[in-house]
Amino acid sequence: MNPFPLSRRNFLRASGVCLALPWLESIAGAAPAAKAPKRAVFVFVPNGVNMWQFHPAKTGRDYELTPTLKPFATVRDRLTVLSGLQHFKVKGGHEEWAHLLTGNVNSGVANKHTAVRPNTVSIDQHIAETVGQQTRWPSLVVGADGGRMTSSFDRKGEPVLADFDLKNIFDELVGADPHGRLKHRASVLDLVSDQAADLRGKLGKNDERKLDEYLESVRAVEKRVKADLAFKETPKATVDEKRLALNADPYKGNQQDGYVDTMFELIFLALQTDSTRVVTFTSTRSEGGGPLKALGGDWHGQGHNTNDKVETAESRAFDVLTAYDVWWHERLARFLERLSAVKEGGTDLLNSTAVFFGRGMSWPAFHRGDNLPLILAGGEGLGFTQGRHVAFNDQTPIVAVDGKAPPVNKDLGKNPACVSDLLRTIAERMDVPAKGFGESRRTLDELLS
């Protein structure tokens, strides 16, 4: 019998949860050999796009900025437009947010009565398992809907709940703790986890899984409290209040810009303070109302109404799609500009951050999943070459056939590539092995320098 039983808190202290100081120019200056940490941001945007106006015809550096890509004019040399990528077995369809980052064909709610795990781990959580040990938050998972509307799935295949509350994210980010509650939280968490441990014996085997879920939540909050408390004592980046509209309501048309821009600003702050190195932003759900849909016109429904015909045949529907496409690209361009404006280790923050801007659908009428409209930005320090349009799977420029979208190209050429390949490449550039992730068969060396 151990005469000095460790309390749980002592145990945590002893195991040495280590916290990184925020990455600041001054620190970099003091130790020039230190390299900037590698980061990844995954953004999911629902529905398809106006495919007649997204993919450029030319590949390489000299591609033309198509109408919906125009917002990227000032940052085009920091991003790559991708054509031709798709999932191999997952063919678009509904619930595309659930398989974008997992590449799992059985993902999300597609299987209503499944005895198999609902999903598999998503790439961000896979990366966070390794990289997350070095920052106070293993990852940051956010979205305007929040909760289960998330593209992030843990090792058990359960959804990682997304945070949606700008004010709370901000408070936690800057270590605000306005009511001074953090200090005492540890004792509260100690007590409830003891209660749960006691309960475990009485509830029976089948409830143990649920109780374990509770205990894991308690541990997660504990780690977070410790990290946030320690963070309060460290020097922090200055916050530009003008860029934060913390009360923006994503359901209101005139506040949507504010909401998304503020979310991106919070993501930027999280990266800049090295609070985390992995972020996932599942913007909003695909169907049926919801936040960020008030640009005018039913985004999902009009996608169906296009019937994948040429624009002149359904101009009203296509106009709605274009409006959303341009709006989202403006938001992303603003975020990229923000990252590029911050100096870090001789270059900028964007240089060490790979930003994946993904959609799970291309032609919206039938939810096609081929030739997905994807963008990869930044991350030059991770080895990515930017400033080009790269086509995979022998994808050719889009040409109408009989007044409609061209049919799906079944022949993916000699070196087929899938979205999982891209996700794996990002992981490996962050020094996290990901061979065979999802459907991956190779890495996308075409994107590297």
């Binding site: 909760g147 289960r148 509260v188 089948n206 649920k210 308690v218 909050v221 429904g301 939810h367």
Partner: protein, 865 residues
């Protein structure tokens, strides 16, 4: 006993189905490539009946099911199975997988530990802490990460997920509410709220509006015309309002009018006070009264006491007294945040009290603090009863009568910050008053014993109590004050598993629930919150375990106002009503002029809220009056409020609130003809037939339809291209017929599409379709049920749904849905037998919804664990 016998016959049924349908199917379509010789892909289907508990086997068979659904298997060139054959095979696999899932869960009929849903948790916190803010408009549950699930109720224990984010936010909320319930620093003598806390300074500003108006009127009349500076009538202007407390700084009173409205002089009645026109925006700075406080409160309860009356001059909605807060007018961040509202119907002046805890008031507090002031806004939030008429019917001479709504008379009011809520007076809900010569720790132990027993919904065990007292003691030892230390212990209780979950300790064999556990299940079912004292008393003396008492309690709970929470939650989730609020385009026609746009948005918001609430009121009336289950979809009456009555074109009897009235001809389908259901089903799609079909088949016929596969193979497009060059020539019915020509699509669509025209009479918002001239359009709502029974019109459809009393198609589907909600888990194959006896018991008891609920509560599954 019943279970083993049941599962033996069930097992035999599974085996015979396999032998009859699946084995021949496999032999015909699969074994040739997936047999003993060089099985393709290493996958074999020539073995005995698979037991899908084996995870690898389950994955193989589920993959096969998916490939068949998407037409990948059998591969091109091989004979295609018919849609019916495919369906039978897929159903068997799905069923087998479901059985395996049940075994993994610990056997038929059991469920995993069930966590309280967000709304249940919020209601529980408020009740435990003795807090009640009946007029507050904010939704506290929105602070927790959404627990809405697409295919099941949020109380489905097997699908719930608990993570750090949820726990963090729950703890934040619990602590915020505790700060409201126990705000005062206690000196150790007397009541907890005897003294004001150091950090919340109470204040009060009294405004005698009538006196101010009379004074302004007098001054105006006394001023010679030449000196009136062009003012046409008296106005409030800026008034300094002294504080009630000596030495506190004064506040400023001001009024904002809508420029286009009549002279200000009409709004000031020197005999009565200020008349507030309705605010023309959903919330904004027009037609409002603003009291600018010279500081920003940091805690406590913000309270508005107003003496007001309704001035009903028009045939429109009664005024609504609303309290809001905002930042400096005209500056960035000057948005107004509504906090609380109450409908004023009385014509004589009465006192109304609106209060909201500051800590829970949503607002831009950062900006308020920077500006060092808080604008408290009082306005009339009446929404219009009807939309602006169509351009063709718009008579500009009558413009005023379309837009005019009823005014709110404000005679006097006071705005105050109090340390605690004035009522309900449950000061001992959380902390008991000290007894003579009792030391602190004894008081804590006594209080915690009482609180924990209520919070845990059963007597607290000594071991548990000691742990919480120890937390208090440690906090005290660390230097914290008495109250803070105590609150930390209570906060811990509020996120402990005994509160957060319905804990039901059990063993391998099934046992009856204890009376305490039964009380919890019953209370969360009927009221969505923790058991009240009366129910806990029945648990304490064990009488709740008897049928008679259990019945009595269920009836008591259902008769109470709090049962509305049950009706609301069940209908909201079952019928997907949340979606109504967010669909575009607006429910009504485009605005006529700039002045109308505010009105339109206001009406739009209000009618959506009403559409989403109608099913709950309808269900509650059904339960209260013990109407039959089938009357949910076949009813001679509707339950509506003023706005919905106009929407449907019926005249309500005099009164306020939601009332029963005879249904018009085209609204006799209960829920089936409620505009809210049609709206939720259609999802604002112009061509919503498929969506409507899915909604009806899933939610009213209880048949689960899997999500459609992605259509990379574009069979529908091919079909269209091959058969018809010009799509527009097809009618919607013809277009949908295409689905049926391809087996893989037909598998699901043959069950969905024929129901898609049931609602052909209605547009996307549940209103009868009209042409551009406003005339009703002829419609054809014929179709057929999934079992291929045809119907010629809506009435025949409704009859098919309700034929057979409690064994009607609808009643069977509804009872399944209800049972899942009652049990807090998805149904498994063992439940069918239970449901049949439940329905039989309900039939003996009159066949009403209440009888059905009672039968479920009395059932073995509900009372055992």
């Amino acid at each position: 006993m019943l279970l083993t016998a049941g599962s033996a016959t069930a097992q035999a049924k599974v085996e015979s189905t396999y032998a009859d349908t699946l084995a021949p199917f496999l032999k015909r379509h699969c074994v040739e490539c997936h047999g003993a010789e060089k099985p393709k892909g290493g996958v074999r289907f020539d073995g005995p009946m698979p037991d899908l508990i084996d995870v690898k086997l389950a994955e193989q068979w589920l993959a096969a099911k998916r490939m068949m659904a998407q037409g990948e298997m059998p591969p091109q060139g091989k004979p295609r199975p018919s849609a019916d054959e495919l369906l039978a095979a897929m159903n068997w696999i799905e069923d087998a997988a479901a059985r395996a899932a049940v075994v993994t869960r610990g056997g038929v009929g059991r469920r995993a530990l069930r966590r309280l849903t967000n709304r249940e948790y919020v209601a529980t916190l408020l009740d435990l802490l003795g807090l009640s803010f009946p007029h507050a408009t904010g939704d506290l549950a929105a602070r927790l990460p959404s627990d809405a699930m697409a295919n099941t109720f949020s109380n489905d224990s097997n699908s719930q997920v608990t993570q750090g984010l949820l726990l963090r936010r729950s703890l934040d909320l619990a602590e915020d509410l505790l700060a409201v319930a126990l705000p005062a620093e206690d000196t150790g003598n007397g009541n907890a709220h005897a003294q004001a806390p150091a950090h919340v300074k109470p204040f009060r500003y009294d405004v005698d509006v009538r006196a101010i108006v009379a004074e302004k009127h007098r001054t105006f009349l006394a001023t010679p015309e030449a000196n009136r500076k062009g003012q046409r009538g008296p106005g409030i202007g800026n008034v300094v309002v002294p504080a009630h407390e000596n030495g506190s700084p004064p506040a400023k009173l001001g009024v904002q009018h809508l420029h286009s409205q009549p002279l200000a002089v009409e709004h000031l009645d020197p005999a009565k006070g200020l008349l507030l026109e309705p605010n023309p925006h959903t919330i904004g700075r027009r037609n409002v009264l603003m009291l600018t406080l010279p500081f920003v409160p940091e805690g406590g309860v913000l309270r508005l006491r107003a003496r007001a009356a309704a001035v009903m001059e028009h045939d429109n909605s009664p005024p609504v007294l609303r309290l809001g807060i905002g930042g400096s007018y005209g500056e960035p961040g000057d948005l107004v945040y509504p906090l609380a509202a109450v409908t004023v119907t009385a014509a004589d002046v009465q006192e109304y009290v609106l209060e909201v805890p500051v800590l829970l008031a949503d607002g831009d507090w950062k900006t308020f603090r920077r500006q060092k002031q808080l604008l408290v806004q009082i306005d009339n939030a009446a929404a219009p009863l009807g939309p602006t008429p169509t351009p063709e019917n718009y008579d500009s001479k009558r413009r005023d009568s379309y837009l005019k709504r009823n005014r709110l008379l404000l005679e006097s009011f006071s705005v105050e910050i109090d340390a605690v809520s004035a009522w309900p007076p449950q000061s001992e809900a959380v902390l008991l008053a000290p007894r003579d010569s009792e030391n602190e720790e004894a008081r804590v132990k006594r209080s915690l014993w009482a609180f924990l027993s209520r919070a845990f919904r059963r007597p607290v065990e000594d071991r548990e109590l000691d742990a919480f007292v120890k937390l208090y003691r440690d906090q005290r030892a660390a230097g914290r004050g008495f109250l803070d230390a105590y609150k930390t212990a209570v906060a811990a209780a509020l996120v402990s598993p005994q509160v957060l979950y319905l804990t039901e300790p059990r063993a391998t064999e099934r046992k009856p629930l204890t009376a305490w556990e039964l009380a919890s299940r019953l209370s969360y079912l009927a009221w969505n919150t923790t058991p009240d004292a009366a129910l806990l008393a029945r648990a304490a003396d064990g009488s709740l375990l008897q049928d008679a008492e259990l019945t009595k309690q269920l009836h008591r709970l259902l008769a109470d106002d709090r049962a509305f929470a049950f009706a609301r939650e069940l209908t909201r989730q079952w019928l997907d009503l949340d979606v109504i609020d967010h669909l575009a385009p607006p429910v009504t026609r485009p605005a006529r002029s700039i002045d109308d746009t505010g009105e339109l948005a206001w009406y739009d918001k209000a009618i959506r809220r009403d559409l989403a609430a109608e099913p709950a009121y309808f269900l509650l009336d059904l339960i209260r009056n013990d109407r039959s289950v089938n009357s949910l979809v076949a009813s001679d009456h509707v339950v509506v409020n003023d706005r919905l009555a106009r929407f449907y074109g019926v005249t309500l009897p005099r009164g306020t609130g939601w009332r029963l009235v005879a249904a018009p001809e085209n609204r006799k389908g209960g829920l089936l003809t409620q505009a809210g259901c049609v709206t939720a089903a259609t999802h604002a799609q112009e061509r919503g037939e498929i969506k409507r079909g899915v909604y009806l088949v899933e939610r009213f016929l209880g048949i689960d339809i899997p999500s459609p596969p992605g259509n990379v193979d574009i069979k529908p497009l091919d079909v269209q291209l091959a058969e018809d060059k010009n799509l527009r020539a097809l009618t919607p019915r013809q277009h949908l017929d295409k689905h049926r020509t391809v087996a893989t699509c037909a598998v699901c669509h043959q069950r969905i599409d024929p129901l898609g025209f049931v609602w052909n009479e209605f547009d996307m918002y549940g209103q009868p379709k009209r042409d551009k001239q406003g005339k009703l359009i002829a419609f054809d709502s014929s179709g057929s049920l999934p079992d291929k029974t045809a119907f010629a019109d809506f009435d025949e459809f409704r009859n098919l749904m309700t034929q057979g009393e409690i064994e009607s198609r609808f009643a069977v589907a509804f009872s399944g849905r209800l049972y899942a909600y009652v049990l807090g888990r998805g149904l498994d194959h063992g439940d069918e037998a239970h449901l049949t006896s439940i329905r039989a018991a309900a039939a003996k008891n009159g066949g009403g919804v209440r009888a059905l609920l009672l039968a479920m509560v009395l059932s073995e599954t509900f009372r055992n664990k």
